[in-house]
Structure formats: structure tokens, C-alpha cells
């Protein structure tokens, strides 16, 4: 029982990080129908931004989190502007390949600039472990979970209650109709990238705190896992992405805890295959036919 609870705690903190990442994938897909393969690398940039401001300028958690989010948001907007916007009217495959190219550019560019070796993430908050009836919870785990949940609630509020959020939803259902009521589609897309990438930046600092180490290629695997999470939840769906993230976190932790650590990545890809075969629209996805 204790072990199960312990694993659930671990799964929730890891899952919340995947959820943050998956949200960005899903939002960007929702608005421009692009699987942004560079999304995982924005998370890496966020982690590095936090790493530098904490170790060089001794930022505290909140300011480092905000820095990571701003760096994430700015990179997302810049990438969209220079790499994806010129291809807005091109076939989707061209944009997809560009996204992969941007991903390689960020990974190798960062390896070149800062070196490809892993470095340990500075301790921004001193770790304290609480023993609750045999279950160990660290303050870091609580912080990760709470931060992720707050960000998800904020995101939901922005999407549901603000004018910009309505514009985002309108553009994702019908960009032309949105334009006809006066929405600037380009600004709305930039805003979506900013939001999604800010969450990726936040996920970056949280993962740094979770694993205590970062490197320029750290975005690859979590990026793909978050993509699987987004597909699992139903790509384009915000609650779906959160749920998918938590499910992937739980699954991965479970396989690790039963001694199959070596297969923890493989099982995530297995989930992708199963979902694509049996539930291609995902848990919350709408099964919409393409209209002409």
C-alpha cells in the first residue's frame, strides 16, 4: 500500500510536467494543425534559462520560473514567426519537416554554444522530505505539482474567460470566420505559441528540479512523450492534454516500480500505437470529418 501511494506521488509530479508540455503541443495543433516537434526543445531552453539565472544571479524559484516562461514564450513566438509563418499556406508536411529542422537546430545549436555535457541543476530550494506514514513526499514534488496545477487552471481561465482566449478558440475552429469578425489571426497564433511555449519553459525548470540535471538534448524524449500524451488525451483538447500527461506519468512510473525501467519509454510508444489503432481521436478528441 505504501509503495503504491509512493509511486502515485512520484507519478503525479512527473505526470504534471508531461501535462504542461502536452498542453503546448495540443494548443499549437489546435490552432495551426501543426505537430510542433520543436516544442520539447523550448522546454530545454526554459530549463537552461532557469539554470543560468539561478546559478549566476541566484534567482529564487518564482523569478526563475518566470524567467523560464518568458524565455520559452519568446522562443516560441520567434520560431513561429521565422520558421512556420512563411509556410502558412504550404502543405502541412513542409511545416512538419521544418519543425523537425528547428528542433535539430535548437538541440545542436545549444550543444555548440554551451557544450553537450549534462550539468547538475542548482538547488533552488533546499529539499525537505516529509514522511507521511511511510510515504515520502519532498517539498520539491509538492512544489512541482502545485505549480503545474496553478498554471493549468490559469491557462483554462485564459482560454475560457478572456477575449484573447475566445479569439484562440475561434481561430482554431474557423480562421476565416474569425477574420471576418475582426480577429487578427497572426496575432492570435503568436499568442497561442507564447502561451504554449511559456508552459514548456515552466516544465523545463520543473524537470530540472525533478531530475536535478539538464542537457541540450533533454527535450527529445519528454517532447515525444508529451506528444503521445496529447494524442492520448485527444489532440487539440486542453483537458485531454492534462489528463494524457498525468496518464503517461503514471504509466511510466508504474513500469519503473515493477522493475521494468528499461521498458518505460517503450511502453509509452506502445500506448501511442494502441491509441492510433483503436482510439485515433483520443480520450477527449472530437471525431470530426474533414470538411471540404
Amino acid at each position: 500500500m505504501q509503495t503504491v501511494l509512493q509511486q502515485i506521488i512520484n507519478a503525479l509530479s512527473l505526470g504534471s510536467i508531461y501535462a504542461l508540455l502536452a498542453l503546448g503541443y495540443s494548443m499549437v495543433y489546435g490552432i495551426i494543425k501543426l505537430i510542433n516537434f520543436a516544442h520539447g526543445d523550448i522546454y530545454m531552453l526554459g530549463a537552461f534559462a532557469a539554470y543560468y539565472v539561478i546559478s549566476l544571479w541566484h534567482f529564487n524559484f518564482i523569478t526563475a520560473l518566470l524567467t523560464a516562461m518568458v524565455v520559452g514564450a519568446v522562443s516560441g513566438v520567434v520560431i513561429e514567426y521565422f520558421a512556420y509563418r512563411p509556410l502558412r499556406k504550404s502543405p502541412r508536411i513542409a511545416v512538419l519537416i521544418t519543425a523537425i529542422g528547428v528542433s535539430f537546430l535548437l538541440e545542436n545549436g545549444m550543444s555548440y554554444l554551451v557544450g553537450s555535457n549534462a550539468r547538475s541543476f542548482p538547488q533552488v530550494i533546499e529539499q525537505v522530505n516529509y514522511n507521511l506514514g511511510g510515504v515520502l513526499i519532498s517539498n520539491i514534488q509538492i512544489l512541482i505539482l502545485v505549480t503545474a496545477l496553478i498554471l493549468m487552471v490559469l491557462l483554462q481561465l485564459i482560454i475560457k474567460k478572456t477575449k484573447m482566449g475566445r479569439a484562440m478558440r475561434a481561430v482554431s475552429v474557423d480562421p476565416e470566420a474569425a477574420e471576418l469578425v475582426g480577429v487578427n489571426v497572426n496575432h492570435t497564433i503568436s499568442f497561442t505559441f507564447a502561451l504554449g511555449s511559456a508552459l514548456a519553459g515552466a516544465a523545463g525548470i520543473l524537470i530540472g528540479m525533478y531530475y536535478n540535471q539538464i542537457d541540450p538534448l533533454m527535450g527529445m524524449t519528454p517532447g515525444i512523450k508529451a506528444f503521445v500524451a496529447a494524442v492520448l488525451g485527444g489532440i487539440g483538447s486542453v483537458p485531454g492534454a492534462s489528463l494524457g500527461g498525468f496518464l503517461i506519468g503514471i504509466l511510466e512510473t508504474f513500469f519503473q516500480s515493477i522493475g521494468l525501467s528499461a521498458y518505460k519509454d517503450a511502453v509509452v510508444y506502445l500506448v501511442l500505437i494502441v491509441i492510433l489503432l483503436f482510439l485515433p481521436a483520443g480520450i477527449f478528441g472530437k471525431n470530426t470529418e474533414e470538411k471540404v
Partner: protein, 236 residues
């Protein structure tokens, strides 16, 4: 000065020249209709006025200003709203949210409140369905929502692209009555219709389009009485 004047408009749609030098004008307070078969270029003209398409050549003058190179949001802000063919409501958003989107550029809150009241007074069904997903509305209700959404921007000129398409005869009657009422209240209207008879019946003037050109024009009554129009559009 005409409210809207289109001069020698040429628009390409991909490789096809969909509009080949069309000219027409709309005076303030009028209902003007463009009629013609599928592929005559009607929708292309409307989309070009709205700023969704760029003309190859020609001019679009709105209240004395050339607008053919402005973008859609600017044109909405200037007072031209379009109800697109096929309604294009925002599915997955509530009726209320759709109307809020209609007032996207509105700055004056008290005026926006007045717009809601006016729209709900004209389309009581929308008030009843306020919190429902717009996708759950019937075709006729969706058309009303699309019109209500366009009216939220308080347009001076309303472009209606096939508002009666796919509706039951009862709803078609209602939509035409509403168009007339909107016009009486002071909105100038450009009406695109395949339902030529009814469109001409309520229009001050009409233009008959075929293969990207204006073939005929005149007052609504003149065109209704024209034997060629009768033969081609009313089936004898």
C-alpha cells in the same frame, strides 16, 4: 457618393479568373442583390470586399476610401460585416460566445450592451439558447446566429452570402423578412442569392452575374419582369 462602389474588379481564384471586370454600386440605405448561377463569381466578389481575397485589378471604394488592399479586420472596423456562405458559426463555443466574438472590435461597452439587446430582440431564439453550444442549433438558428454575430459589429453595410441556402421554406420566409427589417432600420445590404425571385422582390436594385461578368442590371422590379431573367432563373 455611393456607399460602396466596385469598379472593374478582377479576381483570380487559384488559376481561374473568377471575376472578370465587374462593376456595381450600392447607395446608402439600399438592398442590392447579386444573382447568378453557381460559379458566376458572386461569393468571390463578397470575399474580396471583405478583405479575404486580394483583387488582381480594379477598385473597391467604400465611403470614398479605396479598401481593396485592406485586411479583413480593418474592413470590419470600417463598418462592413459579412455573413459568410454556409454560416461559419464557431462550433464548440456557446451562442453567447459567438455573439461576443461578433463584438470583437467593439470599444464602447454601453453600445455593445445595446447590440446584445437588439440582437436578442430580433432573434429571441438566440436568447433562449444563449448557453448552448452553437453546433447544436438547427440550420435556421445557425443562420440567425451568423446574422446576429455580424450585427454585433454594428455594420453600416451588411454582406449576406446565400443566407437562405439549405433552409426550410418557412425559415427562408423569415430570413427575408428579417433582411427587409434590418434594411428599414438603416443597414445597407448587399445580398447574394441563388433564390433570385425572392431576392429581387425585396431588392432596390439587382445585378445578374454569369461567368464572372455582369450580364444585366436594373431595379428589382425590372429584373423580375425581364423575360431573360424569368427564363433562366425562374424556370420559365
Amino acid at each position: 457618393m455611393a456607399m460602396l462602389e466596385v469598379k472593374n474588379l478582377v479576381v483570380n481564384y487559384g488559376v481561374i479568373q473568377a471575376v472578370k471586370g465587374v462593376s456595381f454600386k450600392i447607395e446608402k440605405g439600399e438592398i442590392v442583390t447579386l444573382i447568378g448561377a453557381n460559379g458566376a463569381g458572386k461569393s468571390t466578389i463578397v470575399k474580396t470586399i471583405s478583405g479575404l481575397l486580394r483583387p488582381k485589378d480594379g477598385e473597391i471604394i467604400y465611403q470614398g476610401v479605396a479598401i481593396e488592399h485592406q485586411k479583413a479586420p480593418q474592413i470590419v472596423a470600417a463598418g462592413i460585416s459579412q455573413v459568410a456562405e454556409g454560416r461559419h458559426i464557431f462550433a464548440g463555443m456557446t451562442v453567447m460566445e459567438n455573439l461576443q466574438m461578433g463584438a470583437f472590435l467593439a470599444r464602447d461597452r454601453s453600445q455593445t450592451k445595446q447590440s446584445y439587446d437588439e440582437v436578442f430582440a430580433r432573434f429571441p431564439i438566440l436568447k433562449k439558447r444563449k448557453n448552448q453550444d452553437a453546433a447544436t442549433l438547427s440550420g435556421g438558428e445557425q443562420q440567425m446566429l451568423a446574422m446576429g454575430r455580424a450585427l454585433m459589429a454594428r455594420p453600416k453595410l451588411l454582406l449576406l452570402d446565400e443566407p437562405s441556402m439549405g433552409l426550410s421554406p418557412l425559415f427562408i420566409q423569415e430570413i427575408f423578412t428579417i433582411i427587409k427589417e434590418l434594411n428599414q432600420r438603416g443597414t445597407t445590404i448587399l445580398l447574394i442569392e441563388q433564390n433570385a425571385k425572392q431576392a429581387l422582390a425585396i431588392a432596390n436594385r439587382g445585378y445578374v452575374l454569369a461567368t464572372g461578368n455582369v450580364q444585366l442590371f436594373g431595379t428589382g422590379a425590372e429584373l423580375l419582369a425581364n423575360p431573360d431573367v424569368q427564363r433562366v432563373y425562374f424556370g420559365g
